[in-house]
Amino acid sequence: MEFSKIQELVARHGTPVLFLSESRLRDGYRNLKAALPGVDLYYAVKSNATREIVSILNTEDAFFDVCTNGEIDILKSCDITADRCIHTHPIKRDSDIRYAVEYGKPWFVADNEDELYKFIPYKDKLRLLIRMSIQNPGCLVNLSAKFGVVPEKTWDLIIKAHDLGLNVGGISFHAGSQNESPLKYIEALEYCRDICKKAALKGINIEVIDIGGGFPINYLTPVLPMAQFCQPIVDYLDRYFSSYRIIAEPGRVLSGPTMTLATKVMGRSLRNERWWYYLDEGVYGSFSGKMYDHADYPMFLERTGERFNSVLAGPTCDSIDVLYENISLPLLEIGEMLIFESMGAYTTASASNFNGFPKAKIVVVD
């Protein structure tokens, strides 16, 4: 977005403000769809549950990945039916299962035996994906640390579910988040092949392979173009999984690039020979992703000139609310605007109104 255009919008809407770009969202979805031909994309609503995002993706015929009753309500409010969604939370209460079952006949995810028993009262009304864990300590967020059954035990869990009369229809995995290479997906797919082989021989009908999310976007470090990243995965799927329905759960890759944050300097102070700038947005707001998602966002300012050692802090009274220490910046004025890109995923989603600072307003732009 042009700086002048942002300034004009900020004059109208104030700061902090998140601009949601409809065209970037549509382009991002179509780009991923082209990179993963034949794969149904279930947008991970958790990454950014803004109703407009869900609604725009719905017009692109996207599918949706939800985890909670609240996320189901967002789909309902956009008139999205249950056949376009999967429920991917591995741990649920009976009331959660009931709510989702009443919404429609969804796919659920399980990764342990105790969870299987919860489905028994609803067994004719749902289908199951068994979630396998793929260890990936190298990625931004290791999603298999908390959930998933190890590959060696996945088959046993499928058999257990089958013996309980549950309808096991697929395997899911999460190769990590913001992955640098597609190799982890291939590793996971190799495990899936072994399981699918056993299932086919035993007459258990595995129809769906859910390759999860984890597709990377550009933060400070540029990543592979999406088509190039996906090519080895596509080749592998074509060789061995062409008789299966393949789905994915992209979150960050769709929502991340769509939002641009505009924030202003509320105040400044020269402390111990460092310039401290207090912005009107911090880690309790849209920068919550710095804490929870370990993300670093590209920053832009209009001013150039001599640079000084500086600190960027958020507005709240908590001393943890610091965004960048020891960064080199030109001398900023109070009221000066800073722009942050790639602010769509796990930002406003995990923001709070701590200290009475409301969450950043979201404005849809072209």
Partner: protein
């Protein structure tokens, strides 16, 4: 590793099958058209009618069978070991759903039963449809087809076999369980005391590590192991290796001259000279096996 490319040429078909080695070099075959394309739960199965190789079958994008040179492979996989044994009767083929090895072993009238353990029924069905000459052995009353994982079958079935033929097509094939040390030990248990097992060990140049690993695992379980090779036009490396293993090494000294004559009559590639030559290994393979 392998994929199909389509591009336009001035005349004729524009469909090429690429069979590549690590994406860097390989073999391309020009096809007239695709005659079959479907997917089983295990892999993608395609058949093409080609100009120079006749019918060609690809599994998971890899060329595994051509009408033009499959005789070489199946004859070399079977006859050298069959003719070293005095009286091979009970045969087990792991993989081999194309029926090629079956057809060859049935040429030996000592054979009383052949069990083929193929994981993918669609492979067998496809071959019966498009490679009728290759699959004629399936009609023989001595043949029995079991659709299962070879490892499972040998583990749960206590029968002993005089010859076991492990005819899997690719180190990346549908049955990863056929490459484990555990599998070799199960094979050894199911082999009769004077029996022979033969493994296909792929290219000794490109997949040298696989041949060496199989050689090592097998050497720990069998008294004698004998690698041999043949040239294969449709392998992108041009060469294929096999590993014959026996609990009683003396069987390798034997050659059934009397039975040989009738076999040679109906072979296109195999004969007694080829038999002798196949076991003569070039220096780099000897070095690989010693390493």
């Amino acid at each position: 590793m392998n994929s199909l490319i389509k591009f336009t040429t001035e005349s004729g078909s524009s469909l090429w099958i690429k069979n590549l080695i690590h994406g860097m070099s390989g073999l391309t075959i020009r096809a007239k058209h695709a005659v079959f394309c479907d997917s089983s739960p295990f892999q993608k199965i395609e058949v093409f009618d080609t100009y120079s190789f006749g019918m060609v079958m690809c599994l998971g994008g890899t060329v595994v069978l051509t009408e033009y040179d499959s005789d070489i492979y199946h004859e070399m996989m079977t006859h050298p070991v069959m003719l070293m044994m005095k009286k091979p009767q009970r045969i087990c083929i792991i993989g081999g759903g194309d029926g090629g090895c079956l057809r060859e072993v049935l040429k030996h009238d000592t054979v009383s039963s052949v069990v083929i353990v193929e994981i993918d029924k669609m492979v067998t069905d496809t071959v019966k449809r498009f490679f009728s000459d290759l699959s004629k052995g399936f009609d023989d009353p001595r043949a029995q087809v079991v659709y299962d994982d070879g490892y499972n079958y040998l583990k749960s079935n206590m029968d002993k076999f005089d010859v076991i033929i492990v005819d899997s097509y690719d180190p990346g094939g549908p049955v990863g369980s056929l490459e484990t040390a555990d599998f070799y030990s199960i094979v050894a248990q199911r082999l009769a005391d004077d029996g022979i097992v033969v493994f296909q060990t792929y290219s000794p140049t490109v997949n040298g590590e696989f041949l060496r690993n199989t050689y090592r695992s097998a050497s720990a379980l069998f008294q004698k192991t004998k690698p041999y090779i043949c040239s294969m036009h449709s392998f992108p490396e041009g060469i294929c290796s096999f590993l014959a293993c026996a609990k009683n090494g003396n069987v390798f000294e034997n050659f059934e001259k009397s039975r040989y004559e009738s076999i040679a009559e109906c072979c296109n590639y195999y004969n007694d000279d080829v038999h002798t030559g196949a076991f003569l290994l070039p220096q780099h393979i000897k070095r690989l096996l010693r390493s």
